[in-house]
């Protein structure tokens, strides 16, 4: 099947999410929220105490990112903002997704089966940004709308970013149990034999 390219406005509807398939390329417009290790933990701690988050995540986009920010004349600007390794959040993401029901998680490196199940359950996708392309992505952040939990330090804070043409993001895990990481890992498993043979052929 042909890979599609989509420009999506956040919030992203459940229908739009279910329409996405692995391999599609997505560009986002709207508000994106950064959450890393400490942010995920704090969000769930608040939820446990029945307290509200400072932001509403329903059908929005969560970005695994600890950006470089600069404050000039009292206003924050984003200098550099690429994705961080998502697998560090495997242990907490399924609960996070089910609790706050976002439409998209943006990160890099992929996540585990439990997260894939959670994506299917709430209709959410995992979008892979290219790791390290932090200047290119920062250029697509049009405004820094605010910051919460700055006590966690700059990388771990919750940043509210307004983005336009934010991408290219690759649908790497979809809401139908599709995962490019699973497909690649099956291929790699087959190639492994080839590699072992080639390695053995060298003396």
């Amino acid at each position: 099947m042909e890979n599609m390219e989509y420009k999506l406005q956040i919030p992203i509807s459940e229908n739009e999410v279910r329409n996405l398939r692995i391999g599609d390329v997505v560009y986002l417009k709207g508000l994106v929220y950064t959450f890393r290790d400490m942010g995920h933990r704090r969000a769930l701690e608040l939820a446990e105490k029945d307290e509200k988050l400072p932001v509403e995540l329903y059908r929005k986009a969560v970005f695994h990112c600890g950006p470089i920010m600069k404050k000039e004349n009292g206003k924050w600007f984003c200098i550099s903002a690429g994705p961080t390794t998502s697998s560090r959040l495997n242990y907490i993401e399924p609960v996070f997704i089910k609790k706050f029901r976002p439409s998209a998680i943006i990160g890099k490196g992929g996540m585990d089966k439990k997260t894939l199940d959670a994506l299917e359950e709430v209709s959410c996708v995992y979008l892979a940004a290219t790791g390290g392309t932090a200047v290119a992505l920062a250029k697509r952040i049009t405004d820094v709308k605010g910051v919460f939990w700055y006590d966690l330090g700059m990388p771990e804070s919750l940043w509210v970013l307004e983005v336009k043409n934010f991408g290219p993001l690759i649908v790497a895990m979809d809401a139908h149990q599709g995962s490019i990481y699973d497909e690649v890992s099956k291929k790699v498993k087959i190639n492994e034999t080839k590699v072992r043979k080639k390695l053995a052929s060298y003396l």
């Binding site: 890979n3 391999g23 390329v25 400490m38 990112c65 600890g66 950006p67 470089i68 600069k70 200098i79 550099s80 903002a81 690429g82 961080t84 390794t85 697998s87 890099k108 490196g109 992929g110 892979a128 290219t130 790791g131 390290g132 392309t133 932090a134 200047v135 290119a136 920062a138 250029k139 966690l152 330090g153 700059m154 990388p155 771990e156 290219p168 690759i170 790497a172 490019i180 990481y181 497909e183 690649v184 890992s185 291929k187 790699v188 190639n191 492994e192 080839k194 590699v195 072992r196 080639k198 390695l199 053995a200 060298y202």
Partner: protein
């Protein structure tokens, strides 16, 4: 007379250069990877990476938001009074001015110091030897390392009898385990022999060598080439989403070791292999060394 200020400015410039300009050997390898790439998703990402490299260089902005934990490698003479303090000052200023992301936290509390300084950090490696002390210059190499790839680092105390075969298996397993997490296409630094800590340090030092320069020892040069060619058959690809280039380069450094040990360490470096090097001579003359 070399003043502390001169060293501070030099270290600042090294940090600035490393964070914003990717070395030519790495950029060339990424462009070559795009030329031969057949996977469409990999092509999109490699183009995006090249676009990002160009943008960062043009606007002098940090290539990646993870500006790493600053690490320095020093050889030659000690150039000025309070040398270490001066390096730390430069890191502090660079963090504020460039700016860099404050990454340094207390390991248990996880509290961020805000300026990239902390206990024993930035770590400064010194090369001491009779020869080094005789030199009329100081060589300063700066390498920031992001966490994504650093988290994949591995040390194995392998059975000595497994030899080269054991080494191949160990490296392949490490790459398979890292998957897309170390931001491929990546550079592998291998430290072989020495002892546990020497192997790890050598694997880091291996990353300082340009990837288009092979080990001086023909035997190790052959292993570098063999691993590079073989690992790229995996089809793991950029960011682990499939593709023809998983590894940009493999560099090995080795040391002799105890008859009963066979330490092997693999240090992973993401495609954003950032490094910068300069020499400052006794008379204050500064020479930036192109590390490619």
């Amino acid at each position: 007379m070399i003043t502390s200020k001169k060293i501070r400015d030099l270290v600042f410039e090294l940090i600035y250069t490393a964070q914003t300009e990717l070395p030519k050997d790495i950029e060339d390898a990424i462009r070559y990877a795009l030329d031969r790439e057949r996977n469409e998703l990999a092509r999109i990402q490699l183009k995006n990476i090249i676009h990002n490299i160009e943008l960062a260089r043009k606007e002098r902005l940090p290539i990646c938001q993870d500006t790493g934990v600053p690490t320095f490698f020093i050889s030659g003479r000690i150039p000025c009074k309070n040398f270490e303090r001066t390096i730390l000052d430069a890191v502090k200023i660079a963090t504020e001015k460039i700016p860099l992301r404050p990454n340094v936290v207390e390991p248990l509390e996880r509290t961020n110091t805000g300026n990239n300084l902390g206990k024993r950090i930035p770590y400064i490696y010194y090369k001491y030897s009779d020869n080094e002390f005789k030199k009329d210059y100081t060589e300063i190499t700066f390498m920031p390392k992001g966490a994504g790839c650093e988290n994949m680092a591995i040390l194995g105390m392998l059975p000595p009898v497994h030899g080269l075969e054991g080494l191949k298996e160990f490296v392949l397993d490490a790459v398979l385990k890292a998957g897309g997490k170390a931001c491929p296409p990546m550079v592998l630094g291998l430290g072989i022999g020495g002892s546990a800590e020497i192997a790890v340090q050598l694997s880091k030092e291996a990353l300082l060598r340009p990837i288009n320069v092979r080990n001086e020892d023909e035997k190790y040069a052959r292993i570098e080439k063999m691993l590079l060619e073989s690992l790229n058959l995996l089809d793991l690809g950029p960011m682990g989403l499939g593709g023809d280039t998983t590894v940009l380069g493999v560099n090995i450094e080795y040391a002799h070791c105890h008859t009963a040990t066979f330490p092997v360490s693999v240090s992973f470096q993401c495609w954003a292999t950032r490094r910068a090097k300069a020499r400052i001579y006794k008379d204050g003359y500064v020479e930036f060394i192109k590390v490619h």
